[in-house]
Symmetry: C3
C-alpha cells in the first residue's frame, strides 16, 4: 500500500469533490432545479434560488413566526411545528453569530440539534490517523439527522454535499438523504444572510411603524418624500466597505436584482480586491440594473452627496483576516475613514433610510461607532433578530409546514380574539 499511504485525507477529499466538477460548472438556472422538489426548496445553496414570489412567501411566513414568538403560548405552538426533526449543525469555519441564530431557530421550532464545530474532537482528524473522508462524515450525519446546516471555508462544499444527497436519492432503493442548508460557504455564498437582510428591508420599507408617530408613518414620510413607495422596488441601495471579499454583499445584491427599478451604489476603496467582483458587475449589466461605483461615503453623484440620495445603507467590515502583505500596505497608505460612518454622515441620510450591517462590526476600526446605535436609522440589531424569523420561515417552507404554521397562527389569533371578547 505505499501508493495509497502516500495520499493524505486532504487528497481524498479533493478527489471526492472533483467528481462533482461538471455539476458545479453548469449555468445557475440548471443547478437550481437540482435543489428543488415539487416546487419547494429541498437544499438551500445559492441566494439566487430565492425567486421573487418565494421571497414574498417566506417573508409572510416570517411575519407569522415573529408574531407567534411574541408571546409564550405562541412560542409553544411554534415549538410543535417541527418537533419530530433533528438537525446537525456542521460548522467547521468559526462562527458564533450564524451558529447561534440557527441554533435558536431550531429550538424555536422544536428541532433538536447537535453540533460538530471543531474537527479536533472528531474521528475525522483525531490523532490525524482515522482518516475518514468528508463525504462519509456527511453520510453519517444523514443517518442520524434530518437536516444538515453547514458552514465551511471550502468553496462549493455545501453544493457538493447537496449533489451527494441527490445521488443517494437516485440510487436503486432511494437511500436515505436529507436537506443541506448552506450557512456560509467559501467566499461567495451566504444565502440565508441575504434572506434575513431582505426581510429586514421589506419590513422597514412597509413604513408601517406605529410606535414612532401618531399618524401612519407612510403618510408622514410621503409629505417629505413624495415619490416614496412602500415596497422594496423603486429604491437606491448603497453598499460600503469590503465589497469584494464579503459574501453577504454578493448574496444580497443577487436578491435585490429581482425587484423592479432598483439602483445600487458601491462605496469601496479603489482597488480591484475590495470592489464588487467582475462577475457580479456583469450580471448587473445583463439585468439592466443601474449602479455606480464611488470611493467615499462623501462622494457626490450629479453634484448631490450620495448620502442624500440613498434609501438604504449596507455597511460591512474590512475582512482583515484575509489580508496579505500587499493589502496591509494598501490599508496603511489609504484613508479608511472614507468608509466609516459618523453621526454627521448619518444626519445627511433620509430620515427613514435604514443602516444595516451583517455583523460582527470591527470595534477597533470602527466602521460604525456605538454612538450611532441609538439613532432610529440603525437597524443592525433588529436585523440580527429578524434572522430568527426569516430562517425559521425557511425551515418551515423546506419541511412543508407552511400550512401548519398558518393554521397555528389563525388559531392563536382566534384564541386571543375569544379571550379579548370574554374579557370585554
Amino acid at each position: 500500500m505505499p501508493a495509497a499511504n502516500s495520499l493524505d485525507t486532504q487528497d481524498i477529499n479533493v478527489r471526492e469533490m472533483e467528481e462533482y466538477r461538471p455539476l458545479l460548472h453548469r449555468p445557475l438556472r440548471k443547478k437550481i432545479i437540482d435543489f428543488e422538489r415539487d416546487g419547494r426548496l429541498k437544499h438551500v445553496i445559492l441566494a439566487t434560488q430565492f425567486t421573487r414570489p418565494l421571497l414574498e412567501e417566506l417573508c409572510d411566513l416570517a411575519d407569522m413566526v415573529r408574531e407567534l414568538a411574541s408571546d409564550p403560548e405562541g412560542r409553544r405552538k411554534l415549538s410543535k411545528l417541527l418537533s419530530h426533526l433533528q438537525a446537525m449543525m456542521y460548522f467547521t469555519q468559526p462562527s458564533t453569530r450564524t451558529f447561534l441564530s440557527f441554533s435558536a431557530v431550531c429550538r424555536l421550532l422544536g428541532i433538536g440539534t447537535e453540533q460538530v464545530r471543531d474537527s479536533a474532537v472528531s474521528s475525522e482528524s483525531s490523532e490525524g490517523v482515522k482518516r475518514e473522508s468528508r463525504f462519509d462524515s456527511i453520510r453519517m450525519f444523514s443517518s442520524y439527522f434530518d437536516l444538515i446546516i453547514m458552514r465551511s471555508s471550502i468553496p462549493d462544499l455545501a453544493e457538493c454535499c447537496a449533489y451527494l444527497m441527490n445521488e443517494l436519492e437516485n440510487q436503486e432503493f432511494n437511500t436515505r438523504n436529507i436537506p443541506i442548508i448552506n450557512a456560509g460557504s467559501g467566499a461567495d455564498q451566504h444565502p440565508t444572510q441575504a434572506l434575513l437582510d431582505l426581510y429586514t428591508i421589506r419590513r422597514t420599507f412597509r413604513f408601517a411603524d406605529e410606535k414612532r408617530t401618531p399618524r401612519p408613518q407612510f403618510e408622514v414620510l410621503s409629505d417629505a418624500y413624495p415619490n416614496l413607495t412602500a415596497d422594496v422596488s423603486n429604491k437606491t441601495f448603497a453598499f460600503c466597505g469590503d465589497l469584494g471579499r464579503g459574501r453577504t454583499v454578493r448574496s444580497l445584491v443577487e436578491l435585490l436584482m429581482k425587484f423592479d427599478n432598483v439602483s445600487m451604489v458601491f462605496i469601496s476603496p479603489d482597488h480591484p480586491k475590495f470592489q464588487l467582483s467582475d462577475d457580479l458587475i456583469s450580471r448587473l449589466r445583463d439585468q439592466g440594473v443601474s449602479f455606480e461605483e464611488v470611493d467615499s461615503l462623501d462622494a457626490r453623484l450629479d453634484g448631490i452627496p450620495v448620502l442624500h440620495q440613498i434609501d438604504c445603507l449596507y455597511m460591512t467590515r474590512i475582512q482583515q483576516e484575509h489580508n496579505n502583505q500587499e493589502d496591509n500596505d494598501f490599508f496603511a497608505s489609504a484613508d479608511m475613514t472614507h468608509y466609516h460612518l459618523t453621526p454627521e454622515r448619518v444626519d445627511q441620510m433620509r430620515s427613514y433610510a435604514p443602516i444595516l450591517h451583517p455583523f460582527p462590526r470591527d470595534s477597533v476600526a470602527g466602521e460604525i461607532p456605538t454612538a450611532i446605535d441609538g439613532n432610529p436609522r440603525a437597524m443592525y440589531f433588529h436585523q440580527a433578530r429578524n434572522g430568527l424569523w426569516a430562517r425559521a420561515a425557511l425551515l418551515v417552507h423546506i419541511f412543508n409546514a407552511d400550512r401548519a404554521l398558518t393554521q397555528a397562527y389563525r388559531e392563536h389569533y382566534a384564541d386571543l380574539h375569544d379571550f379579548n371578547r370574554a374579557v370585554l
Copy 2:
C-alpha cells in the same frame, strides 16, 4: 487609521467598562434598585440582593421544585413552566460544576440552552482579527436569547452587562434587553452558590429528617441540645480554608448576616491573603455580627474546642491556581493539616452539624478525605443537588412563574391524592 489600529480589542473592552465606573462605585443599596423591576429581581449580580423575605420565598419555591422533580409526572409539569424561553450560557471562565448545574436547571424548566464557553470558536477572537467588542457580543446574545447566565474571570463584567441592558431598556423605544445572571464573577461574587448553600443550611436546620429516627428528629436533638432552634438564626457558622480568595465564602457570609443572632468563626492560615478580607470584616462589625478568627480546626475559644461549639462547618479548597511564588513558599513552610478534616475531628462536632463544601475538593491536598463521605454530617453532595432546586426557584422568580409553579404543585398533589383515594 494608525491610531485606531494600534488599539487592540482588550483596550476597547476596558474602555467600554470604564463608562460604567461611576455606577460600579455607588453604595450597594443604590445598585440593588437597578437590578429590580416591580419588586422582583431582574438581574442577579450580588449576593446582597437576596433580602431575607426573598430568601424565604425562594427556599419555599425550591422545596416545591424539589418535590415535583421527584417523579416523572411532576418533572413534566416543571418542564412546561418556562418552555417559551432560551438561555445563553456565556462561560468564558472554565467551570464544569456551575455550568452543568445551570444547564440541568434550564432543561428541568424547559428552557432551551446554548453555550459560548471557549472564545476560540467565536468570531470575537477567531484569527485574532474580527475584533468584535464584548458588549456587541452581549447585545447579540440578547437578540437571540431571553436570558444570559454568565461566568467570567473579569471583575464586575456581569454587573456592567446588567447596566448595558438597563441602558437599552431606557432608550427611546425600549430596545430589547434581557436578564443577566452572575454565575461567578471575578474573585468576589457568586450569588447563586450562596443561595444554594443557604437553601441547604435552611433545610438541614429544620431538623425534619424522617429517615433517620422513628421520633421527630428535632425532638431527639432537643434532648441533647436544649438550646437548639429549628431555623437558620441562633447558630454559629465556621468557615475553614482559603477565606480570602474564595468568592463563595464572601457571598454566603453576606447572606447569613441577614439572619438573627448568627455568630461566625473563620479558620484560616494566619496570613492576610487567606483571611477574610477587610471590607467584609468591617461589614460584620457594622452589622454587629459576633465573629472570631482562629488558625486551626483544633483551636479553642473560651477553653472549649471550636469544633464542639459550631452548628455548621463550611470547608473550602486552597485555590492554588492563584498562588504566586511567595504563597508557594508560605504553604511549603506552613502546616496545612490544620485546615484538613479527619474522621477524628468530625467526631468532635455536634451530631447534627452539617459539613458543607462548594466543591470541587482538592483530591491531592485532601481537605475532606473520602473517608468522611459516608458520615451523616457530610452534606456536600446533597448541597450540589440542592443547587438544582435553588437555581430553578430563582429562574421561576425572575420570570414571574411562581404562581404557575404553585399551581402545578397543588394540582400535582391533588392528582396524587385522587389517585391514592381511588386506589384505596
Copy 3:
C-alpha cells in the same frame, strides 16, 4: 503536606481504581449480577451481559422504536417516553460517531443531554491545579443527571464507575446513584456497538425485505440456498482486518457465541497483535464454537474460497493510531490488499450476505472503496442508522419503559387503522 503534594491527580485516580481491583478480577458470571436489578440491566458494561432472551427482547423493542420513528406522530410519542430524564455524555476519548448516535437517541426519547468531552474546559484539569478526583466528577454527574453514558480510553473505568454507584446504593440511606452505560472503554469493550451489529444481522437474516422482489425474499433465496434458515443461528460469520486491537469485533463475537450452530472465520495479518486475542480464542474453544483463522480474503477452506462460504462479512479498519514503529515496519512489508474489499471480491459472496463495518472506514487505506457502497450487500450505512433503534431500545429497557413503548406502538397503529378506515 510535602508527601501529599508530591502525588499528582493521576496517582489519586489510579489509587481510586485500585480499590475496585478485587471486583474487576472476578469471573464474568459474578460481575454480571452486580449490573442487574430485578431482572433488568441497570449498568451496561460488558457485551456478555446481553443474554440471548434479552437480545431478542431488545431487538423487538428496537423494531417498535424504528417503526414509530418513521412518522412525525410516532416520533412525538417516542419523545415522551423518557422526557423526565437527563443524561450526561462523558466522552473523554475522541469520538464523533458513537457520540452523535447516543445524542440523537436521547433526543429521540425526550432525554435532555449535556456533555463533557474535552477535559480542558473542566475544573478537573483547568490550569492543572483544581485536582478534582475522577470519582468526585462522576458523583457530581450523578447529582445533576439520571444517567451517564461514558467513553474513555482508560481500561475498566466504566466498570469501576458502576461499582462506585453500587457502593452509594448500599450506603445507609441509599445515596443517589444512577446507571452507567459503557460507550467504549479501553481496548476491550463496546457493548452497545455489538448490540447494534447484532440487531442489523438479525434484521437482515429475517430475509423479509419487501422492496426488492415481488416474491417473499426468503422463498426466492431458498431456491438458491436450500439450507438457509431465517435467523442468526446456523450461519458463518467472517471478520476481517485488525481483529486484535478492535473492541467491536471482541464484543460482537461474544454475542454471536450465544446463538446455535454459529461458525466464524477470522481474516487478519499473520501477526499476534492483529489476530483475535488468546482469551477470546479460549472462550470460543470452551463454548465449542467452530472457527478458522486465515490470512487473506482470498483464502480457501476445504479448497473452496472463504468468500463463497460465509453468510456475513464484518470488515474493520486498521487502527494505525495505535501502531508502534515495529507495527509500521510490519505494515510496510505486508501486502495489506489481502484485507481490502474490491467489487470482484464482493461478487464472489452469496447474494444475501451483508457487509458490515463499524465505521469510520479509512479513506486512504480503502478497506471498503466507495465503489461498493451501492451494492445491495453493503449494509454499513443501515447499520449506523440501526444503532439509533438498538440504543433507544436499550434505554427503554433500563428505565423500565418497555410497557409504555409497547402501548405507544399499539395506540399508534390503532390510530393509523382508524384513520385508514375513516378514509375508506
